[in-house]
């Protein structure tokens, strides 16, 4: 009963998604967006007409103006600095625009150009000081804040009357401040255009990446050849220009040069920036975050104003929000990876019935024996980690090694060992095609092809991304074993899409169907995912009917058949389940049956733990990996099974001294060759009653001349 509840809970509640979602970069934008929705909802409920078109248009105008300044500040913060002088630049450029227009009577386009230039120059002062002279951003912009503000105060003393008395009636100027297109204010439209360009700039263009890189690590960026000083200086220039754009719209909307213009603006913009999720430490941030932050801040200040809160309260609220946001930001940045690593691993319910007996005297097909006691060793101590072994038509023996090589042992005595090809990743399953090309699954890299002369070529390393997966699963993480059909279609397994090869124990801890089977067409080069949601799919073998493949699910303890052609195309059928061990590679036997390696054996304590996901989750968090309860892969065996899924024979090594681990086996001319991923040898076992002339590929495709 309890087990049923647990199984339902884990089947329908996707625990693994939390970690996957949190590890996405967009979650850092999603949290401010949620906050924005909450604030918007709360205000629209407590204030009448909050969402009326007039109110929204008014908010949009202010948002546009402040949005430009926030974009500039975002740029500066992402590059690793800060700009406190934006309020003063805003005031000075506002004055510049109105002075040129009202006092000097310049035409509007000239006013716009001159104002932008003015903003650029004011920003350039910061840029040169901070970028080239390497002054501290905080102190520099604090000083320019004061200087610009003093200049503004001096200027308005002389010209405020002249500006205030002028009433320019220029339609294009009014259109900038009060016009709208389809009901959307001009400023908002321009902001949207700039924001989209800015987003593309930051995420798709080289200078944008340079800015992020400098913010992330200035020294590394410098060492990578990025012009650090120039980029930083230009960011301050851009900040000045963007502030002047905001000031232009403000000037045309209100046309005033009051003494308090731009006072405290830096706090509003800074709050918006931090609240949007742009880290003050630099290197992280986006246009969307900036926009969301501005909207939240504006909604709150406007809401408070509408509710007749006093100015002091308003500013205090902003300062409080800035403090909280900065705190959350710092804690989150510090603990993000820790939190993700804690919630990413999500064990699930995995129940297996009691296994069939293996003890001597209990009978049954898996009864232990000592047949493998006399296995001879090839390359003992010279080869490391031969997961799979394969023999070519000339009886040479190939095996992978953990150094990233394919090693070749030369027939007939297999004493001479040479590097056949160097790949770099750990070779796992191997198969020859009709032209004697060796296809190899490489952990962490994908499917590779080695021509008979030893040239290494990539066959495929990505497949179609599945629509329902949060993680991007298009890259191959752990290609495992493969086989080739008569038509040149390669089926290979990918054990897990959530973890890397060295993290396979974590996948065992989860016991979720994280794996898949993928096909690669050697003729067209197309890669396609065939099956998903498999529990560590591993060995693959094309069945004798030529229309289906047999595959092993290691943690599922089962062998299944998948039809890729014929009347049952697309169907999956269980061949054997509830095996007493963890199945690995499958290969053809000379008598038409199949060889299967059991890489390890089930233990009752782990079987029970697989039924208790909460226990495993806590174990994963509290106990170091070296002490986790593991699938026992120290003892294994080889079994032979027939087309109907019946075990014909089993081969054990009771002491496990000669050949501790078996992940694969290959029959060739009356011998069985054994591989083991953590072994330092290849095993060779003389089979009784086996066809002494059996060569796998000769049998399937005929002898080559």
């Amino acid at each position: 009963m309890r087990d049923t509840l647990t199984s339902l809970r884990y089947r329908y509640w996707p625990d693994h998604l939390l970690g996957e979602i949190l590890s996405k970069r967009w979650t850092e934008t999603a949290i401010p967006v949620i906050l924005l929705l909450i604030v918007g909802l709360a205000l629209s409920r407590s204030i009448d007409n909050f969402l009326s078109p007039a109110s929204l248009a008014d908010t949009a105008r202010q948002a546009g103006e402040i949005g430009f300044i926030a974009l500039g500040l975002a740029l500066v913060v992402i590059v690793g600095g800060i700009d406190l002088s934006v309020g003063s630049i805003f005031a000075l450029t506002d004055f510049c625009a109105l002075y040129l227009l009202d006092v000097l009577d310049w035409p509007v386009p000239a006013v716009v150009a001159a104002t932008l230039l003015c903003g650029a120059l004011l920003g350039a002062v910061n840029g040169v000081l901070i970028g080239y002279l390497r002054l501290r951003a905080f102190i520099t912009t604090l000083i320019t804040l004061i200087i610009y503000r003093s200049a503004y105060d001096l200027l308005i003393q002389r010209y405020s009357n002249a500006i205030a008395s002028a009433f320019p009636d220029i339609p294009s100027w009014d259109f900038i401040g009060g016009g709208s297109v389809f009901g959307i204010p001009t400023v908002a439209l321009v902001y949207i255009v700039v924001a989209i360009v800015g987003h593309i700039f930051m995420t798709r263009l080289r200078p944008g990446w340079h800015i992020t890189a400098i913010g992330g690590s200035r020294r590394s960026a410098y060492n990578s050849g990025i012009p650090v000083r120039r980029t930083i200086a230009l960011c301050y220039v851009a900040s000045g220009v963007l502030t002047s754009i905001g000031a232009l719209f403000f000037a045309s909307r209100l046309g005033t040069v009051g003494g308090d213009i731009g006072v405290g603006l830096e706090v509003i913009v800074l709050t918006a920036t931090v609240l949007g999720g742009i880290t003050l430490g630099g290197g992280k941030g986006s246009v969307a975050k900036s926009a969301v932050g501005v909207l939240i801040v504006l909604l709150i200040t406007n809401g408070l104003t509408t509710m007749n809160a006093r100015g002091g309260v308003n500013r205090m609220a902003l300062a409080g929000i800035l403090l909280v946001a900065a705190m959350v930001d710092i804690r989150w940045q510090k603990n993000r990876t820790r939190i993700i690593s804690k919630v990413y691993v999500a064990p699930t319910y995995h129940a297996l019935p009691p296994p069939p007996p293996t003890e001597i005297g209990q009978g049954g097909p898996f009864e232990q024996n000592d047949k493998l006691r006399n296995v001879e060793s090839i390359g003992l101590g010279r080869i490391e980690a031969p997961e799979d072994v394969i023999l070519d038509r000339h009886d040479n023996l190939y095996a992978g090694s953990r150094h990233g090589d394919i090693m070749r042992f030369l027939a007939p005595d297999y004493q001479k060992m040479e590097v056949f090809a160097h790949i770099g990743g750990q070779p796992l399953g191997m198969a020859f095609d009709r032209e004697d090309n060796l296809y190899v699954c490489i952990g962490g890299m994908g499917l590779y092809r080695i021509t008979p002369d030893g040239t290494v070529e990539k066959a495929t390393d990505e497949t179609n991304r599945s629509m329902r997966s949060v993680n991007d699963d298009s890259r191959l993480r752990l290609a495992d074993d493969l086989d080739i059909t008569d038509d040149g279609l390669i089926f290979f397994s990918e054990a897990t899409v959530r973890y890397e090869m060295d993290e396979w124990p974590i996948d065992g801890l989860e016991a979720r169907g994280n794996g898949r089977i993928i096909s690669y067409d050697t003729k067209t080069g197309v890669t396609r995912t065939e099956l998903r949601g498999l529990k560590f799919p591993n060995g693959i073998c094309v069945a004798s009917d030529g229309q289906s493949i047999l595959f092993a699910e290691t943690f599922g303890c089962s062998i299944k058949r998948y039809w890729f052609a014929g009347p049952k195309k697309g169907k999956v059928e269980v061949v054997m389940d509830n095996l007493p061990g963890y199945p690995d590679n499958i290969n053809l036997a000379s008598d038409g049956n199949y060889w299967l390696a059991l890489v390890g054996m089930r233990s009752p304590s782990l079987d029970l733990a697989w039924k208790m996901p909460g226990f495993r989750r806590r174990m994963g968090k509290r106990v170091p990996v070296d002490e986790w309860l593991f699938p026992n892969i120290n003892t294994g065996c080889v079994v032979k099974f027939n087309e109907q899924g019946k075990i014909v024979e089993s081969f054990w090594d009771l002491r496990g001294e000669n050949h501790p681990m078996i992940t694969s086996m290959r029959e060739h001319r009356g011998y069985l060759y054994l591989g083991g991923i953590l072994n330092n040898r290849i095993g060779r076992y003389k089979l009784d009653n086996a066809d002494p002339n059996f060569v796998q590929y000769d049998k399937r495709w005929g002898k080559q001349s």
Binding site: E384, P505, G600, M601, R602, S603, P604, S605, L606, L608, A609, M612, G614, F615, R618, M619, K621, R622, V623, P624, V625, D626, E627, W628, L629, F630, P631, N632, I633, N634, T635, G656, P660, M661, L678, N679, N680, R681
Partner: protein, 365 residues
Amino acid sequence: MIAAVREFANRFLGRGDATITVPSFDGALKPNQKLESAETLLTCEAPEDLATDGSNLYIADGQRLMSLTGGQASEVRSFEQPISALCALPGGGLAVALGGREVHLYANASAEQPGVTFADTAFNAINALALAGDNTLIATDGSATCGVDDWARDLMELNRSGRVFRLDPGSKVVTPLAQGLGHAFGACAHGNGALVSESWRHRLVLVTPGASPKVVLAHLPVYPSRLTKAAGGGYWLTAFTARTQLIEFVLREPGYRRRMMAEIDPAYWVAPRLRSGLSFKEPMQGAHIKTMGVIKPWAPPRSYGLVIRLNADGQPLYSLHSRVDGVNHGIVAAVELGGDLVLIAKGPGRVLRLSLSGLAEEFCS
């Protein structure tokens, strides 16, 4: 209330009592492989305890009492029940605990009838006997509910029902000295009290009449067991098995423990054992994977061999180990005889002999 909240927070965060850390083998407990080089005197089925009167060596092997002289083992006698503890008495006598529930005192090893028999109803798992200074006997009883050989269940049930008794052969009175111990296993007279191994709390306590036990040596990375006096002053403390983080974790997981005890054969529990590596059904931990044909000696021990030399104050001087890749595991008894240390490795069923010459100089210089 605050305590309950704190305990909940500890469990949630894995702090305080919920931590599963195990002290490392360091200092005087720095690992070596000395026990692996010990000479095997005798291989028998179920060796349990040793006793010596200075010349003869008695070995409890299941129901049989063996004597070992000059390398020749001979059966002295056998009992109806398995012997659970052995102690040599002054004047050639022998005290024998049978099945954990009775203690028989014989005038000599081959005497027909016991001189005195203690069969208190409180006895359940008498696992060690020691001679006190005043000719009385000290007996430790591991558990009030689990039998002598069922100690793993006692650990997994978190029982704290170990007791220490004083047996007076003169008046035939049994006096309880201490109770509520986490599996009392082994005692040795010390002053007017006794040093007692409290296995499940990983410590050595001093039990004195009329006082609560005083901690002498705590935070051991192993589960201590029987101890005997060493010739040069001090003690030999055996440790029948070692702690691991996984077991500490399982001890804090009531749900898993309950189902494990109900559904799984005790041989395959996630619990400490006297021997390991016999079946693939035993729980395997990450570091146990044989890599390039080698099992790492530093892997978490499911079974372990250790005897610790303590000084007269009960502090460790040096230790002799058989690590995870060894076989002489489950050391339950050690006595000094001549210049040798004779040990029982219950895991492989061996009586071992290790020459002590040079050991103290090697470790304590």
